[in-house]
């Protein structure tokens, strides 16, 4: 009987755990370690952030679902990995610290045969002074929509801003990224357009200035170096697509910006050309940069081997090619395929937790040396696909031994469907529906745009909103393991 320990119950971890359990049955053990008691469908948080949904609509308690599935659930935070065991035992284990289940603060060692690191990101608010409260939480100056609780807070603040605007006070809203190395521009993109939509519905749009600020080199980069997609029979850069949408909605943009300091009602930033500026606001939603969850690793002797297993950002090394190379030597083949740790073959990393070999956008620095470039998104559909492939590999390893064939899910051979909401409403809503193939551009296969324009496509309209709404229910259904959940693709 083997034991698989999954750290994290986000899209990647939950997918890995549920599929592994389904395939392994009761013959083996699946343990999930996560500090949160609730599962959260993160893509819908932006709707919570504008008051279109309540927190209850986007979360559900994990414990009953795992109990029914026969998964051992520990509401705890992973602290360290000991892949070689310790003195007197070769069995690898992780130490965890409970955050719930009436064992708060207790630590425990959980041994594993196979480990999946799917801890997701740490929301690194501290990277920018004023962005957070110094404890990794959200500060009083800006709001966030990264968690359901953050989004609830954001919606309350936004309501006040709208009320002031209704009374005739001019309000300034700033949405974007709070640091030069942020990813997840998509969420901020959705949020700004949802704010615009809600402001119009509330009849206060004329009294509200909405502005975008982000670390992208151009609007529509999204951390993927932009993309060229089919629109109306033309192939266009996502830059035109995005700029058009912002123009249509009268949202000006500041681009290539590293937000380096937040004060009450004011954001300071540095631009790619080295110039600096500041922007005042009454309400700001700035996405924090992501870091690894901050786990440590120790060898048998108790020596710290964190830097061997994790990159300096705290993301885990897997089977990617991490040799530093200049931008034009980057290859699609550098990207990991199996997500197996390069040193410990029984450890895998899925979702945001794995270290990408390099960013996808073109790296850029300001003259002062500040790197200002979006880091690659690893959320949503790719997370799910990677989680499932990793589960598949581990199940085969358990069943067939170490000679088993590993399953592959390279982001350079993976497409993604992405629906970015631009306003909620059954008949008045809109969303940009995009498909992109592959996520990481492959210039050898597709010289020019790096992607297959037959499958890279974008369109905005009500249909996109319907899709996003259906996906919301579909994925919550799937995550709850309700009948037919395996039929729903990642």
């Amino acid at each position: 009987m083997a034991r698989l320990v999954v750290l994290g119950a986000g899209v990647a971890g939950h997918t890995t755990a549920t599929f592994a359990k389904k395939w392994l049955g009761n013959g083996h053990e699946v343990v999930v370690v996560t500090p949160n008691s609730l599962w959260n469908w993160i893509p819908s948080n932006i709707w919570v952030g504008v008051g279109g949904m309540s927190k209850e609509d986007v979360v559900f308690p994990l414990a009953p679902v795992y109990q029914k599935a026969g998964i051992d659930f520990r509401q705890a935070k992973a602290v360290s990995i000991h892949p070689e065991g310790k003195d007197g035992s070769d069995t690898p284990y992780v130490t965890v610290e409970y955050t719930g289940q009436n064992k708060e603060g207790q630590t425990e060692e959980i041994t594993y045969d196979y480990l999946v690191n799917a801890t997701g990101p740490k929301l690194n608010f501290d990277a920018t002074p004023g962005l957070g409260n110094g404890e990794g939480g959200i500060g009083s100056n800006t709001v966030s929509v990264c968690t359901a609780d953050h989004a609830v807070h954001a919606s309350q603040e936004l309501k006040q801003v709208f009320e002031k605007a209704k009374r005739g006070e001019r309000q300034k809203i700033l949405v974007g990224t709070g640091h030069g190395m942020c990813t997840c521009q998509g969420a901020a993109f959705e949020y700004i357009h949802n704010i615009h939509h809600e402001a119009e519905k509330a009849g206060v749009r004329d009294n509200v200035d909405i502005k975008w600020i982000s670390n992208e080199a151009f609007l529509g980069d999204f951390g993927m170096g932009g993309m060229h997609m089919k629109v109306n029979g033309y192939v266009v850069s996502s830059r035109i697509f995005a700029e058009s949408l912002y123009t249509e909605r009268n949202i000006p943009w500041i681009i290539g910006a590293h937000v380096n300091k937040i004060e009450e009602g004011k954001a300071h930033y540095e631009l790619l050309d080295g110039s600096t500026g500041e922007e005042e606001f009454d309400f700001a939603m700035l996405i924090p940069p992501f870091a690894g969850a901050g786990m440590k690793a120790y060898d048998k002797a108790g020596e710290d081997i964190t830097s061997k297993i994790f990159n300096p950002g705290g993301f885990m090394f897997v089977d990617g090619d991490y040799a530093p190379k200049p931008y034009d030597e980057w290859k699609a083949a550098d990207w990991p395929r199996t997500y197996q740790n390069r040193d410990y073959k029984n450890i895998f990393a899925a979702g945001i937790a794995f270290a990408p070999p390099h960013i996808i956008s073109k790296p850029a620095k300001s003259p002062n040396g500040t790197p200002i470039n979006p880091t690659p998104p690893r959320t949503g559909m790719p997370s799910g696909i990677i989680g499932k492939a990793v589960a598949h590999s581990i199940v085969d390893l358990i069943k067939n031994g170490s000679s088993a064939h590993l399953h592959e899910a390279s982001m350079a051979e993976m497409g993604a469907a992405c629906v970015a909401s631009a306003g909620k409403g059954l008949t008045g809503g809109q969303a940009a529906a995009m498909t992109i193939y592959p996520v990481v551009p492959d210039f050898d296969k597709y010289p020019g745009t790096g992607r297959d324009t037959e499958y890279t496509f974008g369109e905005i309209g009500l249909a996109g909103h319907w899709i996003k709404h259906i996906l919301h229910h579909l994925f919550i259904w799937k995550a709850k393991l309700k009948p037919g959940w395996t039929l729903i693709p990642e």
């Binding site: 035109i240 700029e243 000006p252 497409g415 498909t435 499958y455 309209g461 009500l462 249909a463």
Partner: protein, 52 residues
């Protein structure tokens, strides 16, 4: 006419394609969007199948 005034507000808006009244209407026209709904779903299913 209302949205195209945006062009005048900001010079960086000049490289944009702003939908006319007809295009804006089609974006929320239920019948047309239902057709697009089916079309987009087909496209997405193709990409999902290619990715696994």
């Amino acid at each position: 006419m209302s949205v195209e005034e945006n062009f005048a507000k900001n010079s960086e808006f000049n490289l944009s394609m702003v939908p006319s009244k007809f295009a804006s209407f089609m974006r929320t026209c239920v019948i047309w969007q239902f057709i697009r709904f089916v079309a987009i779903n087909l496209k997405m299913i193709i990409v999902v199948r290619k990715s696994h």
